[in-house]
């Protein structure tokens, strides 16, 4: 028998304040949107190109992030090695670093005069900055710690007896990973992917610093918003609202589907 309890009044008031903190600025955006021009702004070449690029970059970053993030989370959750605490701290660093600093750091590593990028440029003439690859790398840099954190928590809370049971019945390690571990981790993988994707979608500082700002190549939606602020503030607000709406739809549908907490 469960009885619904209401939260203490003070707690409720503070929670309402928390919601207001997020909702009021959103309402502000909606109120300030020049609705009469909305169709024209959102249908413009700039907006469509930027939205398409943003979706591609965010999706590629989430996938690239999980490619390196899953093994990393695995190592952090399941194995013991020297310097583990340091690795864990380093991995979350991009989350607390100002994105512009992240961009400068990426330049110094992968720019055409960078530690790695320099020799590559000199040997092959390959330059990543100002290309969509740089935008993907910048977004991956800032977003993949979220994935690692989500997956590590998931791996730690997993009931290992299920995996052990599969092993004792003769399943190979690879089979256990594919048929037991990954399916059990489904919700955490989805949550991590969605978080990382949403963070990548909103990325601005590291992208403009490392990848630059060029329509069709590196100008994602947040960069288009910034550029519009200089020439057409109403347009910038309409684009912001588009960005928020897209993120909201994805977060609600995906998290709703995978994280049914009932």
């Amino acid at each position: 028998m469960t009885r619904r309890r209401s939260a203490p009044v003070a707690l409720t008031l503070l929670a309402v304040l928390g919601v207001a903190l997020v909702v009021l600025p959103l309402i502000g955006l909606i109120v300030r949107t020049p609705w009469s021009r909305a169709g024209e702004i959102l249908g413009s070449e700039t907006a469509r190109t930027a939205l398409r690029l943003s979706l591609i970059v965010a999706t590629a970053s989430a996938l690239l992030g999980s490619l390196v993030g899953f093994p990393l989370a695995w190592a952090l959750a399941r194995s013991e090695f020297r310097g583990k605490a340091l690795v864990r701290a380093l991995v979350v660093l991009p989350l607390v670093m100002p994105p512009v600093v992240g961009g400068v750091a990426l330049l110094s590593a992968f720019g055409r005069r960078g530690l790695v990028g320099g020799p590559v440029y000199d040997a092959f003439g390959v330059q990543i900055t100002f290309t969509v690859w740089a935008a993907v790398l910048a977004s991956t840099f800032v977003s993949f710690p979220l994935l690692v954190l989500a997956l590590e928590v998931g791996l730690r809370s997993l009931d290992r007896r299920l995996e052990d049971a599969a092993s004792t019945m003769g399943a190979s390690r690879w089979y256990v990973l594919r048929r037991v571990t990954l399916p059990l981790l489904g919700p955490q993988i989805a949550a991590g992917l969605v978080l990382a994707w949403a963070r990548a979608l909103g990325e601005f500082g590291a992208t403009i610093t490392f990848a630059g700002n060029l329509a069709g190549h590196t100008q994602t939606l947040p960069l288009a918003v910034f550029e519009d602020l200089q020439t057409d503030p109403g347009g910038a607000i309409a684009l912001s609202l588009l960005l928020v709406t897209v993120s909201l739809i994805v977060i609600v549908t995906l998290r709703g589907r995978f994280l049914q907490t009932s």
Binding site: A10, L13, S108, T129, F226, E227, Q230
Partner: protein, 261 residues
């Protein structure tokens, strides 16, 4: 219920404290505020920071607080938030904008600035003149359209008759002149166009400057004015006079700015 009472009390106490402090402020309303806030174009960062120190030294007890940023953004912030006493813009456009919305007084042009091409010190693309910016494969960086220095740079390319080819070489539209300088100083692109005043003592060793002939160059004029509604109106006027006076002018010119006339 007990929670609610406690919360109510806290709110009461907080609002009482708020009343007390605002009451105190109005009581001293007769005195001048010894503090001014200056919103200034980001190209003025180095020069105005120094002028602020000079002004504080000349007026003991006075504090000058700066907010540097792109002129258009600053004008927008003043219009919506109204916290600036003085506005110094990198173009007449945004001063006109503010003058017609919030209102300004004591407006005066205090400096000029011209454009210069910068390249990494080793000049990977071999830039000798503005016309080289049209050569295929040159990676060019400008400030975004709408940012004064970005618009001026595009005007200069137009004047040189190479707008189309040069625009095709643009690999990034930066937030401001500082963004252009950073990308060129790091050697990431071949050339950029910024203000002559951007090549400060600190920047000079990290870039190579190539002059743009005066007949092709765009000369930016910087207006400064006191913002209507300033709470430190006398001090704001004093600051504007200081900037256009001999000491301010000498300082500006040491930072690469040209005299206003």
């Amino acid at each position: 219920m007990k929670h609610l009472t406690r919360l109510g009390l806290t709110v009461l106490m907080l609002s009482a404290a708020g009343c007390a402090s605002s009451g105190g402020q109005s009581a001293e309303g007769g005195d001048q505020h010894r503090e001014i806030t200056v919103f200034a174009a980001s190209s003025l960062t180095a020069a105005f920071t120094q002028i602020g120190k000079d002004f504080e030294a000349a007026n003991p007890g006075v504090t000058v607080t700066f907010n540097f940023g792109p002129s258009d953004g600053l004008a927008g912030q003043i219009e919506s938030e109204g916290v600036a006493d003085v506005f110094a813009s990198a173009s007449a456009t945004w001063m006109d904008d503010l003058a017609s919305s919030t209102g300004v007084s004591d407006r005066t042009d205090f400096a000029k600035n011209k454009l210069v091409i910068i390249t990494p010190p080793d000049d990977p693309a071999g830039i000798g003149s503005i016309h080289d910016l049209a050569r295929q494969g040159v990676q060019l960086i400008l400030a975004a359209e709408g940012v004064p220095v970005g618009d001026y740079a595009r005007q200069a390319l137009e004047n040189a008759g190479i707008a189309k080819a040069a625009n095709g070489n643009v690999v990034s539209n930066e937030q401001d002149d500082a963004g252009v300088v950073a990308k060129i100083a790091s050697g990431e692109a071949d050339a950029g166009i910024v203000y002559a005043s951007d090549v400060t003592e600190a920047v000079a060793p990290t870039v190579r400057a190539v002059a743009i002939p005066d007949d092709l160059n765009v000369i930016a004029t910087y207006p400064i004015a006191v913002v209507d509604g300033s709470r430190s109106i006398d001090l704001a006027h004093a600051f504007v006079r200081y900037v256009s006076g001999s000491e301010g002018q000498a300082r500006l010119q040491s930072f690469g700015f040209l005299p206003p006339a």
